[in-house]
Subunit: 208 residues, 2 copies
DNA sequence: GAAATGTGTTAACGCTCATTAACCGAGCAA
DNA sequence: TTGCTCGGTTAATGAGCGTTAACACATTTC
C-alpha cells in the first residue's frame, strides 16, 4: 500500500509525507494528546477521519515519526563514523563529524528532536522498545569514540557525559523562536564549540 | 484556606504536599494528560474527586508545581549570586555557585525539572506568562555572570550558550534509572566539569 | 450539645475525541 | 460500459475523563 521510506527528498511531497510533517510540527507545539486528528487533517487540507486512509491511527503517526528519526540519527552517525575513519581521521576527527551531524539534525528537525524524548512514553510497547534500541546504539557510537579520546575516563562517566552533550545540542528548541542568534551557521558553530568544550573536560578530572 | 508556601521542609508532609509530590512524579512519568485524577488520588490514598478538597482542579496542581519550581530556581540563584558576591568572589566564583545550585535542583527535583519544559504549554495563559517571566529572570542572572567572564562574546551568543548549558545540566532524567553513575556526588562533579568546560569555550572563538 | 467546618465517599454528568460506518466521485483497467 | 480501487466526505459511536452533586462523618467552636 505504502512504500514508507523509498523516496528522494526532492520532488513534490506525498500527501502522506505532508501529514507526517504537519503532525510533527503540531505534536511538538502542543503535545501528542494536545492536538486532535481534525487539526492534523485541517493542516493538510483534509478532514480528520480522512487521515485514516493513510495511517492506522494517531498512534501510528507518532510511531513512524519517532522510529524514523531514530533510524536516521543512527544511520547518519554510522555513515559519519565510517567516512571519517575511512579518511584516516583519528578519534578526534570522528567526534567532530558526529557532533556536526547531530547539530544538523537538531537544527533541521527541531520538531522531531523535541518529540524524540518528550513523547516516547506514548508509544506502544513494541515501538518504544525499538526506538530505545536505536537510541542505545546511537549512544554507543558516541561512547566508543569518546572513550578512545579519553581512555582514563570510566565507561559510565563517558556515557553520562554523552547524554549530557545530547541535552546541550538538543537545546535548540529553547532558543527563542524569532532567532535569538544571527543565523544557522553561527548557531551551529557555537553549539560545536560548547559540545567539544564540554567533552574536553573529561580528561584530567577525578572520576566517579 | 491554604497557606501554600509557609512550611518548613522537615516535619511530616501535609496531605496537600504529598499530592503535589505524587502528581509531579506521575506527570513526569507519563505526561500531564497521560495521568488521571483517580490515579493521583490513589497514589496518596484517597479517591479521585477527593483531590478537589485541596485543589481547584488538575490544572491548578500543574500550575503550582511549575510556578513553584520556577520561583525556587530564581530565588536560589539570587541568593547564590548575593552570597558569592558578598564573599568577595569574582564572576568565576559566582558562576561556580550558580552551576552547583542548578545541579542540586536537577538532581533533587528531577521530576520538576522534566515538567518544567515539557508541560509549560498546558498552563493557563496567565500562569504560563508568570513561569516564562521567572525563567527569563533566572536566565538573565546567568547571562550577566557569563558576560562578565567572557566580555568578548556577544549577548545573543551568551544567552544561547546559557540555554544550552541548562539543557546539559537538565539531562539527568535521561541517565538510565538504576544509577548508571556510581553516586550523586560523582554525577554532580561530572556535570559541573562538563558545564564549566562548555562555557570555557566561549572565550577565543569567532562570534556570530 | 449544636452548629459549622474540613475532608472523605460514590454516583452522575457532560464534553472531548479517536475511531468506525456509510456513502460518493474520479480514474482506470478489462 | 462496467466495476474496482483510491482517497475523500459527514454522521454516529463509544470510551475516557475532569468535574460536580449529594451525602457522611469526625473534629472544632461557641
Amino acid at each position: 500500500m505504502n512504500d514508507v521510506v523509498t523516496r528522494t527528498p526532492t520532488a513534490a511531497p506525498t500527501r502522506r509525507e505532508r501529514i507526517l510533517q504537519e503532525a510533527a510540527r503540531l505534536f511538538a507545539e502542543r503535545g501528542f494528546h494536545g492536538v486532535g486528528v481534525d487539526e492534523i487533517g485541517a493542516a493538510v487540507g483534509i478532514s480528520g477521519p480522512g487521515l485514516y486512509r493513510h495511517f492506522a491511527g494517531k498512534d501510528a503517526m507518532l510511531s513512524e515519526l519517532l522510529v524514523g528519526i531514530s533510524e536516521r540519527l543512527l544511520a547518519g552517525g554510522r555513515e559519519r563514523v565510517a567516512a571519517a575513519t575511512g579518511e584516516g581521521g583519528g578519534p578526534a576527527a570522528v567526534l567532530d563529524s558526529l557532533v556536526d551531524g547531530h547539530i544538523d539534525f537538531a537544527l533541521d528537525d527541531r520538531a522531531l528532536i523535541t518529540l524524540h524524548d518528550r513523547e516516547l512514553g506514548q508509544l506502544r510497547d513494541s515501538d518504544r522498545k525499538q526506538v530505545r534500541s536505536l537510541q542505545r546504539q546511537y549512544v554507543e557510537l558516541w561512547v566508543e569514540v569518546v572513550r578512545a579520546l579519553h581512555p582514563a575516563a570510566g565507561e559510565a562517566e563517558v556515557r553520562a557525559a554523552v547524554h549530557a552533550v545530547f541535552g546541550l545540542l538538543n537545546s535548540t528548541p529553547h532558543l527563542g523562536r524569532p532567532g535569538a542568534l544571527p543565523g544557522r551557521d553561527a548557531t551551529a558553530a557555537l553549539l560545536r564549540r560548547l559540545a567539544l568544550g564540554a567533552l574536553a573536560s573529561l580528561s584530567g578530572g577525578a572520576e566517579g
